[in-house]
Structures are given as structure tokens and as C-alpha cells.
């Protein structure tokens, strides 16, 4: 049924449809509305057979989720930003132990400096954690991906993060078509664990593994993710059969067939990019968009097949690796290895900076003419940086840069 609903509540409804048995969470902005909503559903008795564990930290949230999942319960949690970092030790254990937990990451910047707004630094910091990572373009996508995530996770016995841009999606009210319980019950059968802690048949989970077998255990984890490259499109097809809606998959393309330039991106910025592309197409410019839906596993072959024919490729990222630059861009270059094309990496939307159509148009124009810098920070205020660099040059005890830059901007005074 089509409903006008806040993104967080829509995700709460999607999780309800998946019939989780344990939800173990700790609130942090911008994820809070999701777990608040779910806790209300449990308390009101409208999430039957589900226990909600209100814990004292994110570390406890993931530890509780691990325990619950190991006993064979369908388990869900959600977090963001420093909350994700606080649970990292347990995050790696969840994947290493092969526990199919589904977790929403309501993407938010990492501090310091502290910042509550959106970028994807948090989930990108866990790209090597052994979890699968799916990225939602809009709230419909977020709903569909969450339901698919349970199927994928349980089939592989691996945990899945569903990443959705904090505030931009979690706090956006828009129309979402929620599947019916009957549709989802048919699509997502009860969880049948591959391993389970059962007093009647005792086993140990989490054995120590030495040099003689550690490589093999890790290799198997990689194999499982490679297997997911086949499973994810298959689950998407089954979801479409069950609900009538195409969603999920490894990548999605928009007007790429005859494109001379393509922008590759993840998450909510894809929507703004599609609008920008439509405007440029109206001007006769051959531009398209590739959305990476599954970032882990990384769909090398699907990307090569989708955009290997396009001579100019811009990877737009909402996070970056200090000391090298793009995180996604080098992986896209791996996908396109050996092809003759121009590639650019653009870092945009850090810490909640809006990604504007005018800036995207400018970026695409420069890529088309070959004048875009290989590594570009979109809408960078160079004057502000030069000023701070000069201050640092002039005086050794120049003070904290973040505070200096804020003062320089006249923070709090008159900007949207």
C-alpha cells in the first residue's frame, strides 16, 4: 500500500514485515527514529514474537545481537557514525562467526570534528569488516533492501548492513509502497540457521584458529561474499516476483546506453544526479548515472558490463580516505582495468554539505571537457583553507584548526 511516511518509520515497517525475533539497539542520531519506532511496535504488541533489548551502548547492542543470532533468532539492529565505531570489535565478530544479523546504518559523518550530519564515512570505515553493504537511493529502496537483506543474510549466513543517508532519507517524508505481510511471508520464510547454540545439541561457536587454518577460514568468508554476487540479483528477481517491484541487485543504470560520460555514486545523491542528467540530456549532452547498490561484495563484472563502453567516468563519493583520496574510485578503476577511458574522483557532501545540482552540472561539464582535477573536492572553499594555512605558517601555536575555521566563517550567522 502506498503511504506517505517518514523514512525511519518506513524502515521500521519493513523490519516489522520481516518478523525479527530480537531487536537489540542503542539510539544515536540520525538512526534514533528507527529504533524508537520499533520499540513502540514491540511495546504495543504489534511485533509479535519479538524481544526488544534496550542496552547501554552500541558495543552491547552488537554483542547482544551476536548472542541472539547465535541462538537462531532473526536479529536486527541499527546505528550510525561513532556508534558504529564503538561496536566495531563486535562487528568483525558477527561476520567472522557467520551470523546473519541485519543492521541499518543511518549514514553520518565521523568525528572529530563532531558533526551530526550525513556522509558515508561511517559505513565506508567498515568496508573490510566482512559484512555485506547495500546502499539505498530513496526510502522505497531502503524498505525493499531491508527485506531483501534478511533473505541474503540468512542464505549466506553472513551479516548485512543496509546503508541509508542520515537525515536526507531517514528524516524525509515521502511516498513508500509497503508490501503486504502475505507477500513478505511468502518471500522470506522463517529463519533456518546454518549453525545454532542449542542446549540439546551443544556446539562451540568461535573456536580459536591458528596459522594452520586461519587463511582458509578467511578465504571461505571471501568465497561466501563472491557467492553473494550471484545471490543478490537472484533475491532481487524473487522479490520482484513476490511484490511486483524491481529493487535491489548489484548496480542500477540510468541513461547509460549511449552515454559519453557517466557518474558513479552510492546512496541518495543518485536521485539528484538523475535529475541533473535529465536536464543535461535535454541540452543534448550524453550523460548517465550508475548506482552501486551492493558495495560489498563489490560487483567488478557488473560495473564493467554496465559502463565499460563509456569514455569518461566520474566516481562521486560521500567519504574519502585521508592520505590517498577516493575509496570507491580505485575499486571502480579495478573494474575498468585495461580499458581506454578518462577517470575522475570527486569527494562531495561531507558532513552534511548539500550536493547541489549546479555543482554537479559544473563537475560534469569539466569532466566532459577534460578539465576536472583527477581528485576534486566539490564546492571546496579554497579561500578558507588558504587563510588557515597562512595562520599555521605564521605561528606555531596557531590553535585548533576546526575552531579557527568556524570563527573565520562567522559560524551561526546568516547562512542557510
Amino acid at each position: 500500500m502506498l503511504r506517505q511516511i517518514e523514512g525511519s518509520k518506513a524502515v521500521g515497517e519493513a523490519v516489522r514485515l520481516a518478523r525479527p525475533q530480537v531487536i537489540c539497539a542503542y539510539p544515536i542520531s540520525p538512526q534514533t527514529h528507527i529504533v524508537e519506532y520499533l520499540s513502540r511496535l514491540v511495546k504495543a504488541g504489534s511485533l509479535v514474537g519479538c524481544e526488544y533489548l534496550n542496552v547501554d551502548s552500541e558495543f552491547s547492542a552488537m554483542s547482544g545481537a551476536i548472542g541472539a543470532s547465535a541462538t537462531g533468532a532473526r536479529t536486527y539492529t541499527a546505528t550510525a557514525s561513532q556508534g558504529l565505531l564503538y561496536m566495531v570489535e563486535a562487528v568483525y565478530n558477527a561476520s567472522g562467526l557467520g551470523l546473519p544479523i541485519v543492521m541499518t546504518v543511518a549514514n553520518r559523518a565521523l568525528g572529530a570534528p563532531i558533526n551530526i550530519w550525513n556522509d558515508q564515512s561511517d559505513s565506508m570505515s567498515q568496508r573490510d569488516s566482512g559484512w555485506l553493504q547495500l546502499y539505498a537511493e530513496d526510502n522505497q529502496d531502503a524498505v525493499d533492501l531491508h527485506i531483501q537483506a534478511f533473505r541474503i543474510a540468512e542464505e549466506l549466513s553472513l551479516p548485512v548492513m543496509v546503508c541509508m543517508d542520515g537525515f536526507i532519507l531517514t528524516h524525509a517524508v515521502e511516498a513508500v509502497d509497503l508490501p503486504t505481510q502475505e507477500q513478505i511471508d511468502a518471500f522470506l520464510p522463517a529463519y533456518e540457521p546454518r549453525q545454532v547454540l542449542d542446549p540439546a545439541e551443544p556446539v562451540s561457536i568461535g573456536a580459536m584458529v591458528g596459522p594452520e587454518a586461519f587463511t582458509e577460514v578467511r578465504y571461505l568468508a571471501h568465497q561466501q561474499q563472491m557467492h553473494a554476487l550471484d545471490l543478490i540479483p537472484q533475491v532481487a528477481a524473487e522479490y520482484e516476483a513476490a511484490t511486483g517491484r524491481a529493487a535491489g541487485g548489484l548496480v542500477s543504470t540510468y541513461r547509460t546506453d549511449d552515454a559519453d560520460t557517466v557518474v558513479v555514486a552510492l546512496g541518495s545523491v543518485v536521485g539528484t544526479l538523475k535529475d541533473t542528467v535529465d536536464e543535461l540530456r535535454d541540452e543534448g549532452r550524453k550523460v548517465g548515472v550508475l548506482a552501486i547498490k551492493s558495495y560489498r561484495p563489490f560487483p567488478l563484472q557488473a560495473i564493467r558490463e554496465a559502463i565499460g563502453h563509456i569514455p569518461t567516468v566520474v566516481v562521486l563519493e560521500r567519504a574519502f580516505a585521508v592520505g590517498i583520496g577516493g575509496i570507491v574510485a580505485p575499486e571502480v578503476r579495478t573494474a575498468l582495468r585495461g580499458l581506454d577511458y578518462r577517470n575522475y574522483c570527486v569527494i562531495a557532501g561531507l558532513g552534511g554539505r548539500p550536493v547541489l545540482k549546479t555543482s554537479l552540472r559544473d563537475m560534469i561539464g569539466k569532466a566532459e571537457s577534460g578539465t576536472l582535477a583527477k581528485l576534486t573536492f566539490l564546492d571546496l572553499n579554497q579561500e578558507l583553507i588558504d587563510h588557515e594555512l597562512a595562520r599555521m605558517e605564521a605561528k606555531r601555536r596557531s590553535g585548533p584548526a576546526a575552531a579557527n575555521i568556524r570563527r573565520e566563517l562567522g559560524a551561526g550567522r546568516g547562512h542557510l
Binding site: 506517505q4 515521502e174 539528484t272 538523475k274 547541489l356 549546479t358 546568516g414
Partner: protein
């Protein structure tokens, strides 16, 4: 596409106003997207929220840069924030105030503008009478609906009822309808004049 930007302060229901407008537009069979531009979430701090309404799905996620309508929930922001950034010369403005546009220093804005598109309403006073709290958002939505015709008043009424318990909803609906009637009436007059 019709784009609205709401300006107010934390605690004035600025985010709720955009949400309610989106719910009302959805009820009228349209596509709508509402989202906040959160700053530090504290009482009194400037808050901005946005609502887009269209006949097709809305994909753009950038803030509303060039609003078709502005709702100013707190006129003290006029001195603090560039409220009219990107504003069009034929755009609509609803200002919550008991003062005149001249007293607010907006004479220049009015002079170069399509006549009848900038209105002031005493939304806080109306809210105090009906709701008993300085919560002007519902009343301002009534004014916006009357001024622009972008949503039907019945849809706003329904959105308010969906959002709030019945007693609170009734009070807010009464505030919205009162202001809707005031602004509709004054528009009739200006059309007849």
C-alpha cells in the same frame, strides 16, 4: 514542481509544518517530499525545513534553493537569516507577525513583487487562542493553502488529524481554518478591488 521553504525556530514545529504539507499534498493525489535541515537541535535555534510537491516522483535531494513559497514562522529571523535567498519575484510569502510589512522593513520587497503574494498573519495569537501554545505552524499552513491553492484545506485538516491526538488536532485545525478564511477573504477583496 512547487517548492516551499519554512523558516522558524526550534520548538515552533517547523519540521512538522513541512511534514504536514507533504501529507496533505499526498492526500490530494500528488507526490510530495518533506525534509528538515537540522542544525543543533535546541529550542530557539534557527531551523529550516522544505517541502516539494509535484505530479511525478521527486528524486532531487538538494535543499530548496529557489522556493516558490516561503513560510516565516518567526519574524525575528528577518534580522538574523537571509530568508529570501533564491526567492522569485512572483513567489509567495507568509509571515507570522502582528506587525505590517512596512514595520518589518519589507517595503522594498513588496514594491518589486507580484501584488497580493506577500501576506502577514497573526498565527501565534490565533494559535494561543485555539491551541493554548505559541505553536503557529498549523495556522500558517492554513494561510499558505489559502494564498497558493497548492493543497486543499480539507487535506491539511486530515493531515493534522493523522498526526495529533484528537483534542490537539481539533484545536490546530480550528487555528488553520480561521487563518485560511482570513487570507481567502483578503484575497477576494484584493481581486475585487
Amino acid at each position: 514542481m512547487f517548492q516551499v521553504r519554512f523558516h522558524g525556530r526550534g520548538g515552533q514545529g517547523v519540521v512538522t509544518a513541512a511534514d504536514l504539507l507533504a501529507f496533505a499534498a499526498f492526500d490530494n493525489g500528488r507526490f510530495a517530499q518533506a525534509f528538515p535541515n537540522f542544525g543543533s537541535e535546541r529550542m530557539g535555534a534557527p531551523v529550516v525545513s522544505y517541502c516539494r510537491i509535484d505530479d511525478r516522483p521527486i528524486r532531487n535531494r538538494e535543499p530548496v534553493i529557489e522556493p516558490d513559497a516561503l513560510v516565516i514562522q518567526d519574524s525575528t529571523l528577518l534580522r538574523q537569516v537571509d530568508l529570501f535567498s533564491g526567492f522569485k519575484s512572483d513567489g509567495f510569502v507568509v509571515v507570522n507577525t502582528t506587525r505590517s510589512l512596512e514595520e518589518l522593513g519589507l517595503s522594498d520587497l513588496v514594491a518589486g513583487h507580484t501584488p497580493g503574494r506577500i501576506v502577514t498573519v497573526p498565527a501565534t495569537e490565533v494559535a494561543m487562542r485555539h491551541v493554548g501554545k505559541p505553536m503557529p505552524n498549523a495556522a500558517l499552513l492554513g494561510a499558505l493553502a489559502a494564498l497558493t491553492g497548492i493543497v486543499e484545506p480539507g487535506a491539511i485538516e486530515k493531515a493534522i488529524h493523522q498526526r495529533f491526538p484528537s483534542a490537539v488536532a481539533e484545536a490546530n485545525v480550528a487555528a488553520a481554518i480561521e487563518v485560511f478564511d482570513i487570507v481567502s477573504g483578503s484575497r477576494e477583496e484584493s481581486v475585487n478591488a
